[in-house]
Structures are given as structure tokens and as C-alpha cells.
């Protein structure tokens, strides 16, 4: 297994390097942006020049750039994101609940769609040329290519306004004031709010998985090894399972990558459904030039993508017996 360990070490090193690059890019970009968060406060006459200098000192903004960079690196890599400038609250305290809200919506949606659409994709790939195949491809392609807020609005109009089955907006009803995650999520009220955005995101993600799985199976269908499986007396379903297993790799990889991107939230969806997720929070923070908040959010998102890439690589190497773990390939 030492070859695998070497491979792992290499990938890990690459990931760490990428993280450093990403963190530095965030730092530079944010400093390059014109204006500062205090300007609006100053122009509003709420702060005196004296106070500003003090606050700047408190945030370390009076230090030379490289010192700022170093202390920035140190704290961000230790996950100490500091205080939100505008909310005077620890950044992590602002971000964590939003992130959890996003993940609790999108992770189950992604898992559900990955399983269901892939199975459906394999099935229609096996029964190539069937009506179901055409229908499912058209439907998922449509869902994939229309912006998610249009589907979202459509669903809201139908299910919330016309049928009045579910609420249109938010994560809990306005009257609810739950404490802590358990109380927030373990309730019927939450479920009621959850169903609609969940369904929309399931549909939104379904197309890619369906096509990946279908194409994989179609490609494998005429292969020699399936013929031998058939000759051995395997049933149709067992053969399909082998064809499916042989087309798993791209699906798995794609799943891992998608999982990384979920940390960015689905901004449009969060806006349409008034879901207090991380995507919405980031947009707000950028508007308000809340540096620490933006920094932290972007860092988390970048980190998630990098880790997901790493996981995808490792999964690939692990599940594909033929992949040479020592081989090169793009990082």
C-alpha cells in the first residue's frame, strides 16, 4: 500500500499548496477593492476620525501589508476568523448557522438525486431507445438548463400560492423561535418549509447524474465482458448491475466535486425561497464590504472545493483497480 500512501501524500501536498494560493488570492483581491467598510459609517457621521484610528488599530489595519498578511494567514488557517465588522459578532457565529442551513438543504438533496438519478440513468441506458429514456433525458436536460430560480418560482406559484400546500418563504414560520439546531430542524414546521426547496434542488442536480449514468451504461452495454457475464447465466438485473458498477467512477467523482461546491450554496435558490443559507449571506457581506465575513466565507468555500477534489482523486484511485496511483495526470 506504500504506493497508495505516496500518491496520497502527493495529492495532499498539492491540496495544501492550492489552499495557500486561494487564501492569498482572497487577501489580495479584498485589499484591492476600493473603499473600506468604515467609510459608510464615517460619511453617516457616526464615527469620529479618532475612533476610526482606534478601530483600525484594533483590526490591525494600520500595520504594514506583509504583517497584515502574515497575521491574516495565521488566523485564517487556524479557523480564527475574527469579528464581523458590521455585526460586531464573531464571524464564525454568523457563518456557522448559515452554512448548516445550506448543508442541511443541499446535502440530502444531492445524495438523493445522485442515487435516484443514477439508478434511473442506468436503467434507461440499459433499455436504450425506450420512451422512458427519451422522456427522462428531455426532462432533466430542461431542468438543468433553466436557471434554478425559474423552476423555483414556478414551484412556488403552483404549490405555495395556488395549491397552498406548503409555505412559500423561509425556513421556519415567523412565529417560531427555536433554540439550537435540534429544535430548529426536528420539527414538522421545518419539514413543511423544507419540501419545496429540497425538491427543486433534487431536480436541479438530477440531469448530470442521469446523463453520466446513462452514457456509462450505454457505452458498456455492447462490451465483451458483459457478453461473458451473460453467457455465465447472470440475470438481466445482475448484468445491469455489473454495467452500472463499471460506470460508477465518473459518477462518484462528479458527486465528490459537487459536494465541494455545495458549500457555496445555491444563491438563486436561497434568494427565491428566502432560505437563510451561506450563499445569501455572502452576497450581503460583499455588498457591505464586511471583510472578515467575506474572507471567511470565501475561504470555507474554496477549502471545500479543494478537499472535494482531493476526495474525488482518492476515491477514483481507490475504486478503479486499473488507475496507476503513481501516475502523473493533472493535479
Amino acid at each position: 500500500m506504500s504506493e497508495f500512501q505516496r500518491f496520497l501524500a502527493k495529492r495532499l501536498a498539492i491540496s495544501i499548496l492550492l489552499t495557500l494560493v486561494a487564501v492569498s488570492v482572497i487577501f489580495v483581491v479584498l485589499r484591492l477593492l476600493p473603499g473600506s467598510p468604515f467609510e459608510s459609517l464615517v460619511t453617516a457621521g457616526n464615527l469620529s476620525q479618532q475612533q476610526i484610528t482606534e478601530i483600525r488599530a484594533m483590526y490591525g489595519l494600520d500595520q504594514p501589508m506583509w504583517r497584515q498578511y502574515l497575521s491574516y494567514l495565521q488566523s485564517i488557517l487556524l479557523f480564527q476568523f475574527g469579528y464581523s465588522i458590521l455585526r460586531s459578532q464573531p464571524v464564525w457565529g454568523v457563518l456557522a448557522p448559515r452554512l448548516v442551513n445550506t448543508l442541511i438543504l443541499l446535502v440530502p438533496a444531492l445524495v438523493t438525486t445522485a442515487v435516484l438519478s443514477s439508478l434511473l440513468g442506468m436503467y434507461v441506458g440499459w433499455n436504450r431507445g425506450s420512451k422512458l429514456e427519451k422522456l427522462s433525458i428531455i426532462a432533466t436536460t430542461f431542468l438543468r438548463s433553466t436557471p434554478v430560480f425559474i423552476t423555483g418560482i414556478l414551484f412556488v406559484i403552483i404549490f405555495a400560492y395556488n395549491l397552498e400546500l406548503v409555505p412559500a418563504f423561509g425556513m421556519r414560520s415567523i412565529s417560531a423561535s427555536p433554540e439550537g439546531y435540534v429544535e430548529t430542524f426536528a420539527s414538522l414546521d421545518f419539514l413543511h418549509h423544507y419540501i419545496l426547496p429540497f425538491t427543486v434542488s433534487v431536480l436541479y442536480y438530477s440531469g448530470d447524474f442521469l446523463l453520466l449514468a446513462r452514457n456509462g451504461v450505454v457505452e458498456k452495454r455492447g462490451s465483451e465482458f458483459l457478453k461473458l457475464h451473460r453467457a455465465k447465466g447472470l440475470s438481466e438485473m445482475q448484468q445491469l448491475a455489473r454495467a452500472g458498477r463499471n460506470s460508477m467512477l465518473p459518477i462518484l467523482t462528479y458527486f465528490a466535486l459537487r459536494l465541494g461546491m455545495i458549500f457555496q450554496g445555491l444563491i438563486l435558490l436561497e434568494v427565491v425561497f428566502g432560505w437563510p443559507g451561506i450563499g445569501r449571506e455572502l452576497v450581503l457581506a460583499i455588498q457591505q464590504q464586511d471583510y472578515p465575513l467575506v474572507q471567511a466565507a470565501v475561504f470555507i468555500m474554496a477549502l471545500a472545493v479543494i478537499v472535494a477534489n482531493l476526495v474525488a482523486d482518492v476515491l477514483y484511485a481507490y475504486f478503479d483497480p486499473t488507475v496507476s496511483t503513481s501516475g502523473g495526470g493533472a493535479a
Partner: protein, 704 residues
């Protein structure tokens, strides 16, 4: 009662361009314990027939009529479920292409276990034990049952499929070209293994192949298919010794035999029949030299020949003896007999100690440490000479460096050492700005001529392209193209000029590929396995064409192949390669008659014999060639050599170690020479190595 009874089987495929009548009214039966052969050229319907028996026809194929009775049950009428129970339990299958017949993401052992557990209710442990046993039977290391297919070589994968076929001791094994694409030596070992096991288990075998020689050696009865029709069938001794059908005669003639090296192989000109309609005339009539009006009117029925297990479908069976005599004469088939030994001319190409090493990729850390990389010595000190009008054959197992040598002398790869002289000028001359001239004078024809033709270009464009590139004879372009087409036998040339590759038959396409190489009037031609994908008759056509070109156009040819029989046919001189070295070199006749190096002897002995009456000692050469990176000291062949002595392991024999005239070999104890003192004589004949398939060293933990 016979085991398998096929009666009037007709199978068709429906395609966009109409129906393909792949198998037409074929009947035969296989008795218990009998080896049955099915031969015929590519497209004759062999695989289709096998797939029909197994119920594995693709979705566009269907059994139109006829019955397939297995142990009294009609297989065509079975439900999907019933058929699954018959498959593998009673009829097992060894597929045509072992390379991709195994599930890449499932360990080989698990695939065999799956076959067992689908049909038998046994525990995992028992099934595993059985798999180990099977691995042992087919000569694989039982400790490797958890390895994945890609960790095995082609020959080993084929053994895995054989192990799988044996798992449930079926009554019938259908083997579809189990050895095509493998080297002669591996092929021979595999066939030997199948026979040995099948003998022990007493099951029947349906062996499909286009190599008549393999059938002659292994089968009791056979059917010869052409255009989906059984042309001749019966016992192997009758059919192959005294064929009565012109097609069988042609097929047999086109199978080159090493002993008759100087006799031109006679091929069947023309291309396979059009299968878009069910046959109304004799399917073979377009290519048959004996065709008459009667043949036009109807396809002949199979008739029993008196007193023998022998049936033939030909309107003229009664004239079989006469036809047989005529069939050996190339002129009967419309092939001009052109065998005038022309004098060989001046030396065109000469290499001395030519080397091509590849650096092995190294881990990053090693590179940082600055360790010297390992080298794969693909070509290791090869000295050759090729004269004008001479064909030099280069033979060897896969991986011995043949292709690298070809590409290096074509200067497609830079030599890493040694001398190279072409047409009196050294390598440096060409590397120094004269490569264009070299590229015109030296042409190379690759493995698969079919793929190398752009389907969207006409023959005129295809053949004319090199002229444009090299600005050669551009003012008389059309003439150059027509001349070349005629040279390669595409006459009348005008007819072909505007055709696209898909409108040509396989043989014609291949000639276009050759024409592309010849249009620049090269002095030197390098052919790398140009015929490996072709069936016998197309192959023979190509060999004859090359021979003719060498004789009439004064060009030198290097022909690279693992197929020793074709090489013996076409070449003037042979060089046998092993692990990047030439280990024997000399005139074809003298090598074929008296091989000196033990490796050559085993290569020659591995080639199958088409005459069923000749008994041949099968060669079972041990193991596979050693790793070219980490070569043994001394003679590189020593680890597999049955005659290796201590002396062999001490220092490497040079090519001049044995020498008689032009014939040289690198061996201390050559074959065919009575050793002075040591008594090696009885080691010479018989089988090499372990008669049981030798398995790779497996240590003590082999059994559990």
C-alpha cells in the same frame, strides 16, 4: 444420441441497410467427447453460429429458422430463465477476445466465483477453494485469484477465461478463436491446455478458428463455413487431407506451411460474398475457379460422399480429384506464377550495434536525489544488413522489440547508440537536414492498414497526398497515381480513382494503403505486422504482393511479424529477435530447416501443422520473457532455455558464436550439432520445460 444437434439453422441480422444473412441453413452435430472445429474466413458466420447456440445474439440478430438441440432439448424454444440454467452449467464459453472479456473492476477470482455461485449453492469458502484449484489447473498462481484482469498478460487472461469455462465441468465448451491475437508460443500452450483439460473432463469442444492448422491438430470433425453456408464437413482426416470442395482447397492452400517455404502460398482472390440476400447461387461462385452455369443456378446441397464421414456442397464433387490437382497451381486462381529468384543487389541499409533505450519514468524523489534512471533496452545492439530486392523478416514474441526496431530504422525514433547507414549515408547525414529525402526513400506500413485510410478521401486523394507533401512528380500526378495503383494490382486503376475506402473490399483497401507507401517510389519499405488483422486469404495476397515488389521494383523490405509461417513464406533472410537482440540470423531455408538457437527451434515448433496426419511435438516453452529492465547476466534466454548450463549464465554468447556461412546464432550449445562431449542429444526432441503448464514461482504458500 449426439450432444448438440444443429439443424437447418438460419440467422439474420437486421441493419439500417437491410438484412444480413449471416448463417444460412447450417446443420451439424457434435457427439459426446468429440472436438468439433468450425473454420472459415472472417465474416463467414462462425461467431454468429456460436452466439446463436449460446443465445447471446445481439438484439438485432435473430434465429430465423432451424433448431438447436442440446441433449434432446431445443435451445431456441427456451425461456430466458431456462436458458440461464443451461448456460455455463452445461455449455460454457471461451470468448473471442480475452483482452476485454473480463470485467475490469472485478477481481478475476470473484468473476469465476460468480459463475460458480450463480448455479450452485456453495459457500464463499468452498467457491474460493474451487477457484484456487482451477487456477492451478490452468497454470496460474493460485495466490493471484484476488488480482484484477489488468494485472495479467493477454495469455494469462485467456487462461482465466478457460478456468472459468471449466468451473462447473460443463458438457460442451464453445471456444471462439481462443488464441487469435496471441503469440504462437502462447497460442500453442493455450491450445494444449484446453485439450489436456477437456480430455480429462471428457467434455466436448466446439472450436472456432480461422486457422485450419489449429483444427487439424486438435479436432476430430469439422465444418468449413463460407458466406454462412457449410461448404464441407466431416472428419478432419478426410476433409483436410482430401478436400472435395474448391473453397476448402483454397483455404488450405492459403495457409502457409513452414516446410514448403519456397512454394508460393495460393490465396483465394476476391472478397467475401454479399450477405444481403439469402443465397440463390453457390455462395462461392464469384471466387471459384471451377464455377459453371450450374453453380449460378442454385447453391449446391451438402451431399454425403460414399463410405466416409465426409460431406461436401459443390455441384462438381465428382471432379474433386481433378480440382484438387488444379487448385495447387496458382494460375488456376488467376494468380500469375512469379517466382524467379532475382539477384539481390547492393546493400541498402546497414546497422551496427544499433541501440534504442527508453528511460523509465522515475518517482519524483528519485529524480531529486539524482539517481540514474533505469533503462528499458528495447533494441540492444542490433546489426543488420538489407540489400535491394531482398526481404528481411524479423520475428519474435510480443514485447521483444520488433516494432521499436522498425521505428528506429525508419528513424521515427532516434537511435540511442550504434551505427546506422542508409544508401551510403550515415544517420548524422539524415538527422542534419536531409530527413525529407529519407522520408521519401523509406516508407513504413503499420499494423492495421484499414485504420490508416481517411474515410472521407477518395483513392485519388489518398494516394496523391504523399506526392503533394513531398512535391514529387506533381506535374504528372495523375499518371503517378495510376501507375502505382496498377503496380499494387488495382486494375483498371481508373475505376478506383474516385471511390471512397468504404466502397472497397478489405483486400482492396489494404492495397490502397500499400499504394500510398509506394507512390513515392521508395527504395526501402518497412512493414510492421501489416497482416496481423487480416484473415488468411487477404494475408497471402499481401505477402505475394510484397514478394513481387521486392523482385520487380528492386526495393529492400523489412517485414516484421510474430507469425513465423508468413515470414518464412515471404522473406529471403530471417532475423530472430529475443529481448532486443538478434539471436539468430540467416537464410530462410537454412533457419527453417536447421534452426540453431533453442529459441528459434521452439518458435518453429509452435507453428501449427495443417496436415492432420502429421504428429508434431508441441512446444511448451517455460514462462514469459524476463523483465527487459532487469536482465539476467549471461545468455538472456537462459532462464527459459532447456539446455542452459552454467557457462550460459556466465557470459553472453555473441551472434558469431555459431556460424556456418551466412547462418549465425548466439548460443553455446546450438541445436542440430552433435555436441562433442556432453550427451545432450536426447534433450533435443520432445517437449520443452514442464509438461504441466509451468506456473510462475509461487513460493511455499501455494496451498492452504
Amino acid at each position: 444420441m449426439s450432444l448438440l444437434d444443429i439443424t437447418d439453422l438460419t440467422v439474420t441480422y437486421s441493419t439500417d441497410s437491410g438484412t444480413v444473412h449471416a448463417v444460412n441453413d447450417v446443420s451439424f452435430s457434435i457427439d459426446e467427447g468429440v472436438n468439433y472445429g468450425l473454420a472459415g474466413e472472417s465474416g463467414s458466420g462462425k461467431s454468429t453460429l456460436a452466439e446463436a447456440v449460446l443465445g447471446l445474439l445481439p438484439s438485432n440478430g435473430s434465429v430465423e429458422s432451424g433448431s438447436i438441440e442440446f441433449q434432446g432439448r431445443d435451445l431456441t424454444g427456451l425461456s430466458e430463465r431456462e436458458r440461464r440454467d443451461v448456460l455455463w452449467e452445461d455449455i460454457a464459453y471461451i470468448p473471442q477476445s480475452a483482452m476485454d472479456s473480463l470485467d475490469p473492476v472485478m477481481s478475476t477470482g470473484a468473476q469465476i466465483r460468480q459463475a460458480i455461485q450463480t448455479h450452485r449453492n456453495v459457500t464463499d469458502d468452498k467457491a474460493r477453494a474451487r477457484v484456487r484449484e482451477l487456477f492451478e489447473i490452468v497454470g496460474l498462481d493460485p495466490d493471484r485469484i484476488d488480482d484484477y484482469p489488468h494485472e495479467f498478460s493477454g495469455g494469462m487472461r485467456q487462461r482465466v477465461t478457460i478456468a472459468m469455462a471449466l468451473a462447473l465441468e460443463p458438457d460442451l465448451i464453445i471456444a471462439d478463436e481462443p488464441t487469435t491475437g496471441l503469440d504462437v508460443i502462447v497460442q500453442d500452450k493455450i491450445i494444449d491446455k484446453i485439450l489436456e483439460i477437456q480430455d480429462r473432463m471428457d467434455s466436448s469442444l466446439l472450436l472456432i478458428t480461422h486457422e485450419i492448422g489449429v483444427i487439424a491438430e486438435t479436432c476430430d470433425e469439422l465444418s468449413i463455413l463460407y458466406g454462412g453456408k457449410a461448404m464441407e464437413q466431416g472428419s478432419v482426416d478426410n476433409v483436410l487431407v482430401n478436400p472435395t470442395n474448391p473453397y476448402t482447397m483454397g483455404l488450405k492452400n492459403s495457409f502457409p506451411e513452414i516446410e514448403e517455404g519456397d512454394q508460393d502460398p495460393v490465396s483465394i482472390p476476391g472478397s467475401p460474398p454479399n450477405l444481403s440476400e439469402s443465397p440463390s447461387a453457390c455462395v462461392f461462385k464469384d471466387r471459384c475457379p471451377f464455377a459453371t452455369e450450374e453453380c449460378e443456378a442454385s447453391h449446391p446441397d451438402l451431399v454425403d460422399l460414399p463410405n466416409r464421414n465426409h460431406r461436401s456442397a459443390c455441384h462438381h464433387v465428382t471432379k474433386a480429384a481433378q480440382m484438387r490437382r488444379d487448385a495447387t497451381d496458382p494460375e488456376t486462381w488467376g494468380i500469375p506464377d512469379s517466382h524467379d529468384e532475382s539477384d539481390r543487389g547492393e546493400v541498402l541499409l546497414e546497422t551496427d550495434g544499433l541501440e534504442k533505450y527508453y528511460e523509465q519514468s522515475q518517482p519524483l524523489l528519485e529524480q531529486l536525489r539524482g539517481n540514474d534512471p533505469n533503462y528499458v533496452r528495447a533494441v540492444d545492439g542490433v546489426s543488420l544488413r538489407v540489400r535491394r530486392s531482398e526481404i528481411l523478416g524479423i520475428a519474435g514474441e510480443s514485447g521483444c522489440g520488433k516494432s521499436t526496431l522498425g521505428e528506429t530504422i525508419a528513424l521515427l525514433k532516434q537511435p540511442t547508440g550504434g551505427e546506422f547507414v542508409f544508401d551510403g549515408e550515415p544517420y548524422e547525414h539524415y538527422a542534419d537536414g536531409n530527413m525529407r529525402e529519407f522520408r521519401r526513400k523509406v516508407q513504413i506500413i503499420f499494423q492495421d492498414p484499414f485504420d490508416s485510410l481517411n474515410p472521407r478521401q477518395t483513392v485519388r486523394q489518398l494516394v496523391g497526398e504523399p506526392l503533394t507533401i513531398h512535391d514529387y512528380r506533381t506535374e504528372e500526378r495523375e499518371r503517378a497515381i495510376i501507375e502505382t495503383l496498377e503496380k499494387v494490382g488495382l486494375t483498371p486503376a481508373r475505376k478506383f480513382l474516385d471511390q471512397y475506402p468504404h466502397q472497397l473490399s478489405g483486400g482492396q483497401r489494404q492495397r490502397v494503403a500499400v499504394a500510398k507507401a509506394l507512390v513515392l517510389d521508395p527504395d526501402f519499405l518497412i512493414c510492421d505486422e501489416p497482416a496481423s488483422m487480416l484473415d488468411v486469404s487477404l494475408k497471402v495476397n499481401l505477402l505475394n504482393l510484397l514478394r513481387e515488389l521486392a523482385d520487380t521494383e528492386d526495393i529492400g523490405i523489412v517485414y516484421i511479424s510474430h507469425d513465423l509461417a508468413s515470414l518464412v513464406q515471404v522473406s529471403d533472410r530471417l532475423a530472430i529477435m529475443y529481448l532486443g537482440r538478434v539471436i539468430e540470423e540467416g537464410d530462410v531455408e537454412s533457419i527453417a530447416a536447421e534452426p540453431k538457437h533453442p529459441y528459434t527451434t521452439s518458435l518453429l515448433a509452435a507453428a501449427p501443422e495443417k496436415d492432420p496426419t502429421v504428429d508434431r511435438d508441441r512446444v511448451l516453452l517455460d514462462g514469459e520473457p524476463p523483465d527487459p529492465v532487469d536482465l539476467p547476466s549471461g545468455c538472456v534466454f537462459a532462464p527459459r532455455c532447456p539446455k542452459a548450463e552454467d557457462e550460459c549464465r556466465e557470459s553472453e554468447p555473441g551472434l558469431d558464436t555459431v556460424r556456418s556461412g551466412e547462418h549465425r546464432a548466439a548460443c553455446y550449445f546450438p541445436d542440430g550439432e552433435t555436441p562433442a562431449a556432453d550427451d545432450l542429444a536426447d534433450d533435443r526432441s520432445g517437449t520443452y520445460g514442464d509438461p504441466e503448464f509451468s506456473s510462475p514461482a509461487s513460493g511455499d504458500s501455494a496451498s492452504d
